[in-house]
Symmetry: C2
Amino acid sequence: MNSKSIAASVSFSEEKMKKNAIFDSPHLFYDTYCLLPSQAQKVHAHEGSDKIYYVLEGTGRFTVGDEEQDLSAGNAVIARAGEPHGVRNDTEENLVILVTMAPRPT
Amino acid sequence: MNSKSIAASVSFSEEKMKKNAIFDSPHLFYDTYCLLPSQAQKVHAHEGSDKIYYVLEGTGRFTVGDEEQDLSAGNAVIARAGEPHGVRNDTEENLVILVTMAPRPT
């Protein structure tokens, strides 16, 4: 059975935000995004895919569309296909996010 | 911004396993499944959709394909399109699972 510990996937890079794959299929990506203080994922959009960010640890400043909001552990947000989205870690703590994207971008 | 507290979605039913919608789009479902002791989701399959179970609280006995495994909080498992899957709560504690399904079944 293809089971995974989410915590075991958590890994940071001093260089930039690190994406760690948990599951990957033709239908979706399921990853952790790990951001050290001051790291970010730039605002961007996927024309045909939705993305859900679910904060597992820390607090991120999320952009979806033209809105910005701080979300801390336990909160999730969806960026629907075509909506610009991004996240940055403006805090002094690490940020870990569980990210689902569907369908998998081509 | 469409943000949600995952904990706020958690709700049980004495009658049967309760599914609580968090996000819903043409591309995916994102729900919590809440199982009281002895509740279950029967083994079933979706021909065109993958499902990921991520245990948030408690321990579930998961079936994927012809395998069974106990997974506790912090662990996730994928049932790929066409694979039979289900879960039951054989413990005396509540079970809360974050479930992603993609694409949304038609």
